[in-house]
Structure formats: C-alpha cells, structure tokens
Amino acid sequence: MAERSFAKEVQSLRLGAGEEFHGEGILAVTKALLQSGVAYVGGYQGAPISHLMDVLADAEPILRELGVHFEASASEATAAAMLSASINYPLRGAVTWKSTVGTNVASDALSNLASAGVNGGALIILGEDYGEGASIMQERTHAFAMKSQMWLLDPRPQLPAIVQMVEQGFELSEASHTPVMLMLRIRACHVYGRFRTKTNRRPAFSAADALAAPSRDYSRIILPPSTYAQEKEKIEQRLPAALRFIAERALNELLDGQTDDIGIVLQGGLHNNTLRALELLGCADAFGTSKVPLYVLNVTYPLLAEEWLRFCAGKRAVLVVEEGQPEFIEQAANQILRQRDLACRIVGKQFLPMCGEYTVDALRSGIDAFLKAHAPQLAVAAAPVTRSGVSAESAAKLAALVPPRPSGLCTGCPERPFFAALKILQKQTGPLHISADIGCHSFATLPPFNMGNSIMGYGLGAAGASAFGTDGGRRAVSIMGDGGFWHNGLTSGIGNAVFNKHDDLTVIIDNGYSAATGGQDIPSSRAASDHRQGNNSIVEAVKGVGVKWVRRTHTYDMKQTLAVLREALTTGVRGPKVIVVDGECQLNRQRRVRPLMRKAIDGGARVVRERFGVDPDTCTGDHSCIRLSGCPSLTIKENPDPLRRDPIAHVDNSCVGCGVCGEVAHAAVLCPSFYRAELIYNPSRWDRLLGWMRARIIGALQRRAERQRLRYVL
C-alpha cells in the first residue's frame, strides 16, 4: 500500500459534468483518462508520476464500475507492450512512467507499437524528470518521438489545458493511428489547480469484446514485408493525418502582440514561466497578454510548417524557447524557413542556456538579451522588478556558511544497519568495488556511507558488476533493491551471473516495497492489497534461476549480517552468491504500527515503546557512531560539560527505537553511551510490584552512593 493514502483524491475521480475538480496536475490527468473512456491503464511508479499509479491503486471500486482494467505493470516495458491491445481493437489505453529512464526501458515495445500503428487511442503519460527535484540523468524525451514517429504533446502547465490535451491526445492518436506521448514536467505534475469536469465514460469497446471476436491483420505484424509498408504508412498517411488534425483543432496557439517584427516560439510546458519572465521585463500583463507575438507549441512534434511560415512571415527575428539539448525544434524551424527562403532569423540557444532547467530567472535573462539585440524599443520599458541577486560578498559568505543538505535514509530505515555493517566490514577487508542500483539504497553513495562505484540503472546493480565476474581477485559486490530485482534484476543480473558463472556477491535489499517512489507494492510485498498477488519469495526466485549459494539475514542483526557478508566474500564455493537482506521500510511500518500502538495504549493494553538515547556525561563528542549511522534522529547538541567544547551525540524525540544505535555500538565496539529506554504503558500488577521492589533496593544503593559523594563537595 502506498506511503500516502489517496482516499480523498479518489473521491474527486467520481465528479460529474460541470463540477469542479481541484487538485494536482497528475491527478487531473487521471480524471481526464476516465473522461476519455479509457479501457485499460498501466505503468510503473517513479517521481513525478507516482501519484497517478497510487490514486488508481486506491480507486478499485470506480474502475470496476467503469470496466477499466488497471495494472501496476512489472516494468515500463510491460506497460508499453500492454498498448498492443490498441493495435487491433478500438480500445483506448494509457500508460505512464517517468522519463527518460522509463522511456528507455519501454522503447523496444514503443518502436514496435509505433510501427504497427494503433486503432484505438494510445496515450503515453510521461513525467519529464528534468531540472530541480529530478533524480535521473538529464535527457530529453523529444528524440524518442522523432525516431519512432510518435507525436509529442507538451501542454501549458494549467489543469484545463492538460485535461484538454489528454482528451485531444486520444483523438489525435486515433485520427493518425499513431501512439501519442504527453509530457509533463515535475512542477506541472504537482501543480495545484482547478478544472471543470465531465462525466466519466465507460469504454464503448471492452477487452471482453476483443476476446470474443479477435481480429488479426498481418499488416500490423512487425515482420517483413509489413514493416516496409508500415514505414511508408507512417510518412505518407499517418503524419499528414496528424498535421491536418493538429491544424484543424488549433492545438498550437498563435497569439498576436503589439509589435510584429519579432516573435517568440515556446514549448507549451514553459508557457507560464515565459509569460512571467516577459511580465518582469514589462512586456506582458498578469493575464498572459504579451507585447511580443507568441507561438505556443502545445504539440512539440511534429512541427507544422504552415504555422511556422505564417508566424515568421514579416518578422526579422524569432526566439525559440526550447528547454534542454540538443535543440531539435530550433534546428527543424531553421530548415523549414531555409527551404522557403524566408528571411526571418531563428535564434534560441544563442540567447538561452544550451542545457539546464529554464527557470523564470534564466528565461528573463535570455529574453532580455534577445529583445536588446532585436527589439531595443521593447527592452527599454521600465521593468517592474529589477533582477537583484545576492551581492558577491554575501554570496561568498553564504557559500562558506550554508551546509549542503543531501538526501538520505529516513529515521529508523532498515537499510541503515546493513550499510553500517558493510562499512565496518570494509575496515577489515579493505575497500570493495560496489556496483550500486536505483532505490533508497542509492543513498549509500552519499555520506556517511559513501559506498557505490557506479549506478547503471534500475535493477542493473548486479549486471553492472559483470565485467568483474570471474577474474578471481577480491570479489565485487553488487547491491539491488527488491523493486529493481522484480523489475529486471532477476534476469539481467542474477540470471546473467548464473549463466556466465560469475564468482561475485549480489545483495538484494528486501524492504517490502518500491520504497523510494512512495512505497508501492511489488511481487514480494507482504502487505499487498487483495487485488495483487504479493508474498512471492525472492529467495525462491533466485534459486529457481540457478543460484546455489543463497542466504537470508535480517538487517537489524548486524552480527549475523557481518558474518554472512564475510562468508560470502571468503568462501571457497565458486559461482554467484546472493544474500537477501530483510527489513520492512520504516515509513510504511510506522504508518501501520503507530495507530495500532496508540489504539492499544488508549485501550488499556500493556504496551512497551522503545526509544534510544545518549548519556551526555559519557559521550566524549567523537561522533564515530554518527559516521556509521547518519539517522536523522541521531544528531548533536551543545556539550553540557563546562570543560569540553565539542558537541555531543544526542537522540531526539523522532527516534522510532529501531535498534540501529545499539547494534552499531556493539558491532563497531564504539562506546557505552547509548541506552535503550523501554517505556511501559498500562503496567501490569507484576510490573508495578517489580517496579516498587526495584525502587526500594536500587534507591537505597543510590542514596548510599550519594551520601559518599556528598562527603567531598568543594
């Protein structure tokens, strides 16, 4: 079950005609899918589109009423392959993942789908993980649309525009028999806004109808000679159909300005920030009316030559606002104008940064430079807000003072004791080559653990160590999450290691969820909902693919974890070794356990809550415990000892009593300053009796010691 409950948002999926939905962009997309009569939805979680998957996972009753089939796909490739249902049948389908990593995984199926073409509308919702808040390599989705001849929508980041683009996207897909991608940047996915809803539509044609009367057409199979005909069909029929549809429906917007010798073309997704930049330069008002003519590309592929010609005619210069690199649109626009000898100069990356997020600040500087070069009379207008950055002197001070705050494992994370054990182990074995993976365990590449030599992609931890599989020297270690394992690691990493007789160690961290993306269920989840078959054993799967040396250990048992790790790195047994390290994600565990504990306490049941602490007078302020933990609740505070100046370790009240502090103090033989307090709620009679008796005896001894101490008081 996802980390965050979406019960409230699920109700908004039921809104009918004329009502008002208010919520975030990605949830508006979900409602738009139901309004478009989608028949099936799939996808794989990942910021910024996780909430689409989460809300549908919580919306089982509504989907059943509408006859919509929803799947949490095993991977993005599975989701893309699911779109095959729209090839032969008028079934509308939608899939979603994070781009470009998800699009990379799905691109084989997407190429096949684009070649075969679609009958029912096929919409691919992509969370463009670019700029601040992104967690992947910085690339553009645009190239995928161009190479496979799929159309790419990049709507204004306003809910009404996004919803309209979802609905038009299905129609465009059907009008041109081509899958359509809809791209939303991170802030558009999470922008809070409103739009007028329509009633949800049951799909006219259902999967059952398709199965009842299967239709088959060899021209849709991607084998010769069909493939050659399909390519011609893409260029001679589907592309013209798309261009006609986009022009007729005026999906792009041509907006006049007060001058007509210059213009700005912009991706729809950058509309709001570009208008704000113009407003700050005194060239637009708060309602999007711009002095400079604008051509808003809500469809960034394919480009419509006539619209470009109409917009650029009579203009000396046009600025193309296109985020990221390479500058596909700018290049294509230059070709369109060159072929028709139009004198207008197309500029873009000359004034705007070649790469990096187009913040309003960057847009303001770029547009200002463009105006100064090509429309000085506009640039001279008094800008209401001067660009006052930080003085150089303050900037230097701030750079020295403001500490970077990298992300890290949460309080009480079960993966922390494992990485503490791996760090202690390396003090004895020397540094290991560690091939890391994508997930919460990626945080081991950051302080205080600083482990992991490369990350090759989700589930590719083991595959990443293949080159070091059999050289016989010190064994390589690869790390993989349970999410990455089911996504592809089982075959790409473990299967490959078995087949190629690797002699290395793979550690699979089983925290019970796809935790990093919000705690969605995966095949090995124990608390999976009743619509998903959970509890599939990773150990059995690993053995099933041929691994002989498999161990399982619990992360909080550091002694055993260290022993198993040592054995795996030193055993004479050759062949791939796999350790499954078990420990439920604490965020999800606390969400489940805390209410139960509170209810039990209020109900009068005897409950023991554990919490850790540090004794200030025995702690000498070396912080070696923090270097092996990094838990947010294990922090530092001013030293109460007047003779000492270094801050001491301190556990604050957010501690969930997971046990790492005690385990680390033991495993690394650090210091006796840690203690575990066991708070007893609703003590039993025996507790009270024992407490009374202990208080008598211990109190007496303590008073005796106190008397001795008071003999010598200066």
């Binding site: 600040d361 009240n653 033989v669």
Partner: protein, 513 residues
Amino acid sequence: MSAAPRPIKLTIAALGGQGGGVLADWLVGIAEAEGYIAQSTSIPGVAQRTGATIYYLEFFPRAAAEAAGREPVLALMPVPGDVDCVLAAELAEAARAIQRGLVTRERTTLISSTHRSYVIAEKSALADGTTDSAKLLELLRHHAKHLILFDMQQTAERNHSVISSVLLGALCGSGLLPFRTRTFEAAIERSGIAVKANLAAFTDACARAQHGDSGFTAERVDPLSRDIPTQARTPALQPLLDRVRHFPACAQPVILEGTRRALDFQDPAYAQLYLQRLERIARLEPQPDGAPGAHGSEAGSAALLEATARSLALWMSFEDTIRVADLKTRASRIARVREEIRATPGQLFGITEFMKPRVAELAGTLPAALGRWVLRSPRVSRWLAGRAGGREVRTRTVGGFTLLYVIAGLRRWRRSTLRYREENARIEGWLARIEQLAPRHYALAIELARAQRIVKGYGETHERGWSRFMTLLAQLDLLALRSDGAAVLGRLQEAALADEEGTALAREIAQLQ
C-alpha cells in the same frame, strides 16, 4: 501597464518529511476561502528524502481576474527578487533561500525558525563541524525586508504539535496576508488531524510573531561559573579550596571545575595531585612583574595554565569502566533519562545499556600486574573476550544495577589498576614535555596543552586518538625549531580531527619534512 494586479508570491523552504506539503495545502485552502485564485507547486521525489525541498505558492485576487474577464497566468517557481514571503522551517534553509536570491531587502518578509537541524557533514565531524549560527543570523537580518525569527521547533514541541502549524501561525501573525485569522484556524480544523494541538501551536506562534525578530544571537555563553567560593561546603576540603585560590585569578574558574572533576572522579588526594601538577605549570608562567620573558607573552595572563588545567582535568578523569559504571548508576542520570524520553511522572521504564568492553578495557580495570599478564597471554584474553563480550545490562533491574554498582565501587582500588597507571604515566610524560618547552617556546607549549583534545572516545576510537597524539608529540622537536611552530601544531590538531582515516594529518606532516 499601470499598477496592474500582481499575485502574492510565497515560498516554503523546508526539509523533506517535515510537513511542508501539509502547510502548502492549508495555505491554498485559506487563500481560496478569502477569495483568491491559488496555485501551489512542489518537487516531491526521492531527492527530497530528509534533504532540502521547496514549495511555491501564488495567490491572485479573484475579483481582479473577474474584472479582466481572464484567468491569471501564475509562475511555477520562485523568481529571485520577486518573492513576497519566505517561510523557512530551519535556520540553514532560510540562509539557503537567501543564497538562491529569494530573499531581498526591497520586497521579502522572511519568517524563519532559529533552530538548527544539523546536516550529515556537521554531525559526522570528529570535533565541532557545525556552521556558525550567529553568522547565519547576521545574513538573515541583512537580507530581509521584514524578519520574524523565533525557535519554532521549541514552540511546536511545547504544544505537542508540528512545525507547520507554527509556521502558519507566524505567517498569520505577520499581518502580511490580507486574510482573517478565523480562516487560518478553519483550515486547521478542516484538516481534522491533531486539531487541538495544532491550534494551540498556531495561536502561540501568532502571538510570538508580533515581536518580529526575537533577537536570538546564538552566542555561546561560557558555561564555566566565574564565582569562586571562599568557604568549602565540606570543611575538610578548605585547604583544597585555599590552594585553588592561590592560582592567578583568571585561571581559577577552570581550575576549580577541574578540582571538582577530580574529586568526583576519585577522592581529595586525587584532587591534591591535580593541583600539585598545576602548580608545576603555574611556575612556568611569565613573572607578574611585567618582565616579558623570551616567549613575549603579556604579563599576568595564564594561557598555558588555563589550557593545561582544562586538558589535565579531562585526562585525569579518563573514562574507564569504573567511571562509566559510576555515571550510569547515579540517581541524577535516571532522572535525566526520564525527562529526555518524556516519561510521565511515575511511569515505569527500563534502561538497557550496550556495554561491550574489549579485553584491553577489562584488563585495564584489573590490578596492573594482573592486567599486563592477561594482555600478554592470548589464551586468557580469548577466554575473557568470550565471557564479557557484548553485554546488554538492564540498569533498572536489581541484577543489572548491582553489577554496575559493584564495578563503580572498584573506585577504591582504582590507583592499582593498569589503566590508572598507564594514563598517569602518560600524563606525567606530557607535563614533562610542557615544562621542557615552556621557557623558550611558550606558545608551542600552549598548543601542546590543548592537543589533548584529540584523544577521546573508547576502545578503537581512543587508540586512534592516542596514536594521532603520539604522532604530534614526535613532531615537537622539529616544531620547536620553527618560529611558527605553535601555529603549525594548531594546524596539525585540526588535521588530526579532519577525518577518521588520518589522510589529512599524513598530508600535513609530509609537507613539514
């Protein structure tokens, strides 16, 4: 474009998982209830787990939109120089917002907590890696047009609530937003989670915001008490107190504290030893008649004496198993734990200690000869390690308490233990080096006195600290020849405390050769 209507622009700078999203949702509800079109954006994702994150909100008057007959176009991110208010849930995040240019003197109200949530780099430093809060506050006061500053963490905890309610209250109290207090409160009530506590924190913060800048300066007051009593509370110790009062006045506070530490650690004789050692150092101080010695220190200051007094007190009260057992069993400690874990008065609770003394510590508590014999024979060491290995001692049970109580009682025979002999031998060696250096290298001697601070911790950590200290001692002869010897020794200490592996120290020493 006359005075065209512009949105209210508000940024929340928070930590991942600190309730920034809840605060943004509250604010959207409030703005809409007050007749504003509201937009908010955020960047949740794995990069925000316990890292710094940001939320951005814009509120546009609905009446102005209706007058223009058009929907406003609202930006999705804060623009340097164009932010009306920054809500910072932690002091460093307020400074980070300034660093991003979001706080400007002409426009921005900055509402920030003064508490610090230390980042991993600050927490894991071997000494004090924390950034200078006083300087951060200076920057906040320099950059904000209007500043509201108080400890919001404390306000939240006092009301058993969360910081987002305090931030909401401070924003309401700032009077920046043209919204009624009642609408703020209604938003909290509508959320239905811990309403009573959140409302209490909200109201508390609303009031505190009226004072604007609480004037908090994060200056660290020296905890050493300055008053030196003339009468010892225990008459038998009067000679001890008189002896403390013979030292130069400026050094008496630290010497008094050191003497009390020696008393608390062992007994009056040990305190006498402490003072006797300091008297040897006091003789090295420059004569008070103002004749600046070769070492050119101004007359009357006792820098060497003060530094030695502090280091010697900490060194002489070394943390052996007896000391740890003594500290763990005190009634004051149990009371402190009760308060720290917020147990209700009279609530029963247990305490489990994580004791894992290595053979070296166990042998250290044995009489010296026996201890050395144990350490020399591997068979006995292994046996001892097996028996006393990782123990979890339950201090509030009779069995656990008595075990620690008995160990604490070994204090009577501490002088015969191996650890005592070792530590005091090392102390004598250190004092001798100080006495040898002081006459001609007074400044270098002060740094040698301070260098004791790199020896701390237990077991392996302590050994590492001691080996680094020995490395510094080995450089003394070389440093004595250099005019900047003291400054270099100071740098070497910083290098020794820079990293666990010792690479920084090795690099610095290599440069010396």
